[in-house]
């Protein structure tokens, strides 16, 4: 039997969900962020088993699951833009006004790319393979935005 639907009483209730929360970076994440904030250095973790160096930090090598939590290595603040996309839509949660370049930067000494914003080059002219360097933020916030952006060397 089908339902005899009468829509005259249907209405929409406006609602809102606002939940305060906090996120703990953990011991490794804190060291990584503090090194950027206080010393302008980008640190990675190296797996001696695989010879791979990871950034951002992780406790275990994602290839062989060896614990690498204590094996910090200092990476360069320069690297290669290995991939990118251009963000072309604006939204209030986005960190920059579009269009801007969101890149994957393989820092010197790292095997994994770090995702960050690339500025100082026209989005129409950017290409993979260019060298970029970190520009550290003047005002720090205990986030990855303590690197303000990367720009061509």
């Amino acid at each position: 039997m089908t339902m005899q639907e009468d829509h005259k009483d249907c209405f929409v209730l406006e609602g809102k969900m606002a939940l305060p929360n906090q996120y703990f970076a953990g011991r490794l994440g804190s060291r990584f962020l503090i090194a950027i904030r206080d010393r302008k250095k980008i640190m990675g973790l190296k797996c001696n088993q695989c010879g791979k160096t990871f950034v951002p930090p992780r406790e275990y090598c994602e290839k062989c699951w060896t614990k690498i939590a204590d094996n910090w290595v200092e990476l360069g603040t320069e690297g290669e833009l290995v991939n990118f996309t251009v963000v072309r839509y604006g939204d209030r949660h986005l960190p920059k006004k579009p269009p801007y370049i969101l890149g994957q930067i393989r820092l010197d000494g790292a095997d994994t790319p770090l995702v960050h914003i690339v500025e100082g080059i026209d989005p129409r002219e950017v290409e993979s393979g260019i060298r970029v360097k970190a520009v550290f933020a003047a005002k720090t916030t205990n986030t990855i935005m303590d690197i303000d952006h990367f720009e061509p060397v």
Binding site: Y23, F24, R27, L28
Partner: protein, 337 residues
């Protein structure tokens, strides 16, 4: 009765837990998940490459981090593998076990790792719970306060097929004989009318015991790990789970039947009132029951031999999961069609 038979037998072969605490500032979510996974792999003597499929569970509204299964993949080891996600409130952990049981029993996967986690310190649990109530009807009326403790922690378990068990396991396998999930109509107040419907606990126990030919659950089981969010609920629910009448459960309590050296010890682990990392809580019940069967429960191992264990999960508006764990694979003949 409808036929309820498994396609294949499934065993728990690895159990890993983190510590449980009201605060874990030194560990992020991924690291906490990985700690449990690594402990479970070590317990099973396996490597992450031996796992065919991952089942992940928590209540994302409690930490307010969306799609946690995706960004926990470094910790779960799910990259490059099949993964499923379970979110069923308090029962999440128990539903994870049911899902893993079904995934292995179906023959789709040989070895499945299930991981339940919660880091309640990071979120706003009471706010999350209130936001689960029907916005049209209940949300303004109810302040869905969490009635239990809040903890941070994770639990991981590894499940495998009978065929793989025959190739050898590091620790004795614990068999999942059967499980049942019972949901209720989603309008709480009906429970408090003059004419009460059957409790989900009772419905689950009645159905599960009948289809497994268990006449006297108190005599049959050696231990019960029950999801008891608050001590005052636990007492009441024992009556339902053991299909007791009147105040029989109270008399049993007074006689010490539920003590650690009693007829049917309840929650040697300390239960949910001891720690409640919600996505892991209901998984800790079968995990702890399995450790009792293996004799590996350490300081809280009960004295008598544990051959048959019962474990339950509870969540939301009286969702119940109930499962039977066995030391030996010898019950098939008593299963009734």
């Amino acid at each position: 009765m409808k036929k309820h038979a498994k396609n294949g037998n499934v065993a728990i072969i690895g159990i890993g837990q983190t510590s449980f605490s009201s605060h874990k500032e030194d560990q992020n979510q991924v690291e906490m998940v990985q700690e449990a996974v690594i402990n479970a792999l070590a317990d099973a003597g396996l490597k992450i490459g031996d796992i065919d499929c991952i089942v992940h569970g928590n209540m994302e509204l409690f930490e307010m981090q969306f799609a946690p299964d995706l960004w926990h993949s470094l910790g779960t080891g799910a990259y490059g593998k099949d993964e499923y996600r379970i979110t069923t409130g308090g029962t999440t952990g128990a539903t994870l076990v049911c899902a893993a049981d079904n995934l292995v029993a179906s023959g789709l996967y040989g070895t499945v790792l299930a991981i339940g986690m919660e880091k309640l310190q990071e979120g706003n649990t009471t706010g999350g719970i209130t936001n689960m109530a029907d916005p049209l009807w209940f949300r303004n009326l109810q302040t869905g306060a969490l009635t239990g403790t809040t903890s941070d922690g994770a639990c991981a378990m590894i499940f495998t097929s009978e065929e793989k068990v025959k190739q050898g396991t590091k620790n004795p396998p614990v068999w999942i004989r059967d499980h049942i999930q019972v949901h209720r109509e989603e309008t709480i107040p009906n429970l408090f009318g003059f004419n009460k419907p059957e409790m989900t606990h009772h419905c689950a126990a009645r159905t599960l015991f009948a289809r497994n030919g268990i006449q006297d659950p108190v005599a049959y089981f050696d231990v019960f790990e029950m999801y008891d969010p608050s001590a005052w609920w636990a007492v009441d629910w024992l009556r339902e789970f053991f299909l007791l009448k009147g105040d029989e459960h109270l008399r049993m309590l007074e006689a010490g039947d539920f003590d650690l050296d009693g007829r049917i010890p309840i929650n040697p682990s300390g239960g949910v009132i001891a720690s409640n990392p919600i996505g892991a809580t209901a998984m800790l019940r079968p995990a702890e029951a399995a450790l009792q069967i293996r004799g590996d429960a350490g300081g809280h191992q009960i004295k008598k031999e544990v051959r048959h264990a019962l474990a339950s999960g509870f969540g939301g508006t009286f969702w119940t999961v109930l499962m039977i764990l066995e030391k030996e694979l010898n019950w098939q003949e008593v299963n009734h069609d």
